[in-house]
Symmetry: C2
Subunit: 446 residues, 2 copies
């Protein structure tokens, strides 16, 4: 039924591979060559494309099981086809002409964590989206992707799914999938991103696996975090402006009124003017005030500089982003740190995204070095809080040293490999974004 | 000031490169080595990262100019740094240690097309987002990305920008950028996607350049199409259900009532029950009816099969997606085609996304071949209408032959190159997604 195909292992080798799979995977039902099983996994009632059956179906229960399968696949050059909900329509689940391994993810179907405050959850790739929504319904929210009822998360990611709600909520190629844990063909496990809602730390490797249909990864999103519907309907943004920023705004003098110099939260509603809902802050009384406040927010650098005496002040502006629930801690610790170094600084944040900006003011070269070290500590703190070195400013030169720590060695090397495959001479923007190899000298330690 | 750096051209070679740039680019002001120009492009008042100035600043006016610059860069191994709005904060605009070419996109600042019916527009990379919003304001809409006021589209794409509105509208890494025209380091021009709102045709190469910070592309998005805010606030989905589908729904008998057997549009509103707004269709009277109608929509395959006599009917389900304004023509021509081939078929569409599904019903092998050819014609028609071979079902085996036609040779080869760089042995899902080389036999022509 299957044939020896050049470039792949022989039937004999595939037999050895199946023996190794039986040894490697625990449980009696983890490896099957039962005819009905092969038929169910390699044939479909819903499409009519040619193809053969797989040689074997395996049922991993953990990411480590997946690694074992991939390593055996590589050893015997035996193709791998992932199997998620089995609802695909274009022959996705057919076997390869040489036979091969069908990896059925139905044994990895658990929701692992729900982060209500962050509006995200972590689940395994075999999880049904209807089961997720049944769980979320009790919390008054839902995942708005709605493919076929039998679809599971691994396939939804791997095909870039959408459904009837996409006009309003976008597709899986948008921002529903924050990250994915992926087993590469090398057997290496990578996680594509942090759990921060936004990141400008390079191009988004999650997106590289969305729509790849398992052709690149084992499709597995073994611990994919999914952004669920933002609960605050109608909230366009929530901005945190600290006491010093409010003071700076008053001093810069572009605003129509003087604001209380307290830490404040400002909400912007869709279709309404900006209003402050923080009881400790004054309420914006009309559209004109709202407009001038948001203009001041945009002028953060200049209003910040107004805090320094004289015209020779400078500001180091930087950003980090963490899961929203970690933002209070990050802001608290960073404010404390900044208050101890003797520099004037302001903090403003996009609270809804867990993204915050610090502006550190200085005049002398000595103060610049103090600021540089403080920013370094802030970035380290954000990464330790499951965040990213940059939420929206990007990497450039200033943040590239943090990518290994944030993303892991394997993820960064993958980015560099893709980079090399497209730009073999390294002529486009050399020295930016991609970090130097680990162990290169830290300028702050010399 | 700049030094000869191993792996890059020498200072002498860079001198020759600058001469060639002057010959290649029209106009007296297209190539500048003026000290003030170099200072303005390679230094920043807003960050404090080390770096040197560029050797030369060039001002392309067309994509072809960009190709010429890239070819000269490659010839002399002279680095390229893109320059968009110049609002970046992490040393993005610094020169390379060897010197190099700064490509300032300010001469390419036009909005080229606005597609109101599709809620997208096409513009050049030097276009200011505030200028775009000034234009869109007159049409009652806006782009919701809001980085620094001086930011331009090329940099916004290249950094994966966001801003204060991201909690509600997502970031540039979501679905604001539909596609980009990119000049690769090889000098080749590729377009990353069609203008269709959704596509499951592989992983999204647009995303590969979003956040790449010009390190992979010339950042250029020379004709990037931008998804602007969906005008229909509160509309969660708009579904087109054709006359035969409505008949099938009645016949399948799961619905609580009988529906008029006419082409119908159904709207689902956020926070409300489903209601039909099409005057030619009946109005849903309560939540229970709405629920049952949407359930039938999900059961399209089974209700469709109810149209055939007997139990041996089969259905070929497929999807395509085009810019929404092209959907009426695509549906009209496809209905006409399907009515002439003697098969029963139904059409349902996600109108808001320009995505539609056809279900072709058949019993015999002969009818299957007729259906296969009809699907082929439908896909060709969709691609000719600036669309994609699949809006959400994916490529698998069934659609891979169309990728070259839809995406272009260069784009597909880039996808394959990335695939090869990650999966050198080709073990993951071989034979799926990536098309065979052009010229391979068409099964329908034999």
């Amino acid at each position: 039924m299957v044939a020896d195909v050049p470039g792949f292992g022989t039937s004999n080798e595939f037999g050895l591979a199946i023996c190794e799979l039986r040894e490697a995977l625990p449980g009696d039902d983890s490896v099957s060559t039962d005819a009905d099983e092969l038929e169910r996994h390699g044939f479909s009632l819903y499409d009519y494309h040619p193809g053969v059956l797989h040689s074997v179906v395996v049922y991993p229960l953990t990411t480590d099981d997946v690694v074992k399968i991939v390593n055996i696949s590589r050893k015997y050059r035996m193709p791998i086809v992932p199997y998620s909900g089995g609802t695909s329509l274009e022959g996705h689940n057919r076997g390869h002409a040489s036979g091969g391994i069908c990896v059925d993810m139905s044994g990895m179907d658990r929701i692992i964590e729900i982060h209500e405050a962050d509006s995200d959850l972590v689940c395994q790739p075999g999880c049904l989206w209807v089961d997720i929504n049944e769980t979320l319904r009790q919390k008054g929210t839902r995942l708005q992707l709605d493919p076929a009822p039998g679809a599971t998360i691994g396939g939804m990611l791997s095909t870039g799914c959408s459904g009837t709600n996409a006009v309003r909520y976008g597709t899986a190629k948008g921002e529903w999938f924050l990250n994915a844990t992926v087993v590469l063909p090398s057997g290496e496990i990578i996680k594509t991103r942090s759990r921060a809602r936004k990141s400008s730390a390079g191009f988004d490797l999650t997106k590289l696996f969305i729509g790849a249909e398992g052709s690149k990864s084992l499709s597995k999103a073994t611990e994919a975090a999914i952004e669920v519907l933002n609960q605050g309907v109608g909230i366009q943004c929530v901005e945190l402006l600290d006491d010093l920023f409010m003071a700076a705004t008053n001093k810069y003098g572009m605003s129509l009124r003087k604001w209380p110099e307290k830490d404040s939260l400002f909400f912007k509603f869709q279709g309404h003017s900006a209003k402050s809902l923080d009881e400790t802050a004054a309420v914006v009384r009309n559209d004109q005030e709202a407009t001038s406040l948001w203009a001041d927010r945009k002028n953060a650098l200049f209003s910040g500089l107004a805090l320094l005496e004289g015209d020779d002040g400078k500001g180091w502006s930087t950003d980090v982003c963490v899961p929203p629930s970690n933002l209070p801690r990050l802001v608290y610790e960073t404010k404390q740190d900044l208050s101890e170094i003797g520099l004037v600084s302001t903090i403003v944040g996009h609270v809804g995204d867990g993204n915050f900006h610090a502006l550190l003011l200085f005049k002398t070269d000595e103060e610049l070095e103090i600021a540089r070290h403080a920013v370094h500590r802030m970035v380290k703190r954000a990464i330790a809080l499951d965040g990213t070195c940059t939420g929206e400013h990007g990497v450039g030169i200033g943040k590239k040293e943090y990518l290994y720590e944030e993303l892991g060695y394997g993820t960064v090397e993958l980015m560099k490999t893709i980079k090399r495959s497209i730009d073999p001479l390294g002529l486009f923007n050399p020295g930016k974004l991609y970090p130097d190899p680990p162990g290169a000298a830290d300028p702050r330690s010399t």
